[in-house]
């Protein structure tokens, strides 16, 4: 019996330490240190997609960020949002806006609503891909703040894919509102 408890304790402690270790890498939680950590994760992720071809041309192919990248941003949570917004506004790297919008969704919280709403208010079909991602990231915002943005898209958007995505996100946010499962 005592051995069983020891095993369970070791198991729990190992996983707790691993989880803390992911966030502990940021050191003291000052806005600057969190900003540095977010910037490092963002740039390392995009660097991993960028290669020099044998011809000498530099190419960047979008590849989904690894699960550990997502876990690191989830671990930082809403505290990471200001730094991600700054990257969204100032970084001009290829595929950078896609990564930043996904990172906002992983971080979550009410602070992600204004930048995502701004993206969704832009006009132009070429932005459909980014708007699909922006809608998806809104699922991680408080539903009472995200729903009006999604419902505005449903009223004003003409693109079929975006309307489909907005309807899916609206259903999930309404489900969260009913369940009280707000992140």
């Amino acid at each position: 019996m005592r051995q069983a408890w020891l095993c369970i304790s070791l198991y729990v402690c190992t996983f707790a330490a691993a989880a803390l270790g992911q966030c502990a890498a940021t050191g003291p939680r000052t806005p600057d240190s969190i900003g540095d950590e977010v910037s490092r994760i963002y740039n390392e992720t995009l660097d991993g997609m960028r290669h020099t071809l044998p011809s000498g041309v530099v190419a960047t192919t979008w590849r989904a960020p690894s699960d550990s990248v997502r876990a690191q941003i989830e671990c930082l949570g809403p505290a990471a949002v200001p730094a991600i917004i700054e990257l969204l506004q100032t970084s001009h790297r290829s595929f950078g806006p896609y990564l930043a919008v996904r990172m906002l969704g992983w971080a979550g919280g009410p602070g992600i609503v204004p930048p995502l709403a701004e993206i969704l208010s832009r006009s132009g079909d070429p932005l459909v891909g980014l708007k699909i991602e922006a809608l998806e990231s809104l699922v991680s915002a408080p539903p009472d703040k995200a729903l009006p943005i999604v419902q505005k898209v449903l009223r004003t958007e003409k693109n079929g894919m975006l309307l489909q995505q907005a309807a899916s996100v609206e259903a999930r946010l309404e489900g969260q509102l009913q369940d009280g499962t707000i992140r």
């Binding site: 041309v57 530099v58 192919t61 989904a64 699960d67 595929f95 894919m161």
Partner: protein, 170 residues
């Protein structure tokens, strides 16, 4: 007198219909649209998004939410060509109630290309569902170029293999 499984000898055994468990086996493409790669200034690229329906082992649509599609992307001209492992990539991250998801963006940005340069990209898939991971037979080969893209989806039942082209290919 004791017969089979507690039933008496001579008594008819109940007959039950075989139960078929649906397992995700294919990702069937249902459409595509061009999207912006959002390349940095000085770079050029062509990107698309592809819509998929999850199919079971018989090629029938799975109306199931909660399946997590995962991909392994390789670019033959990169060193190393492949990612370290599978990553979840879909939007939404798990399938909708009708078993659908979107893959976006698909493409490559090229910095200051002198011509319509291209790279060869492959995607392999798997699906995580209910605590287990199932291999997906669907494969894609892409030709990502500065001014166009071709995406061939194959390995699916007939009717679900598609080739999507966009822009100018060499």
């Amino acid at each position: 007198m004791q017969g089979v499984g507690g039933y008496c000898a001579g008594q008819l055994l109940p007959v039950t219909a075989p139960i078929t468990v649906q397992v995700p086996k294919y990702f069937g493409p249902t459409g595509y649209d061009p999207v912006s790669c959002l390349c940095d200034s000085g770079s050029v690229g062509a990107c698309i998004e592809v819509q998929y329906q999850t199919l079971d082992q018989a090629g029938a649509a799975m109306q199931a939410s909660g399946i997590t599609p995962q991909e392994l992307v390789c670019v033959s001209q990169f060193d190393p060509p492949c990612q370290e492992g599978y990553s979840q990539f879909a939007t939404p991250p798990t399938t909708t109630s009708t078993g659908t998801f979107v893959d976006t963006p698909l493409g490559t940005c090229f910095e200051n290309p002198k011509s319509n340069v291209c790279v060869n990209v492959t995607q392999q898939f798997q699906a995580a569902f209910g605590g287990q991971t199932d291999p997906i037979s669907t494969l894609t080969t892409r030709l990502d170029c500065a001014y166009g893209e071709q995406n061939q989806v194959y390995g699916n039942p007939s009717g679900f293999n598609q080739t999507y082209s966009y822009g100018t290919l060499p």
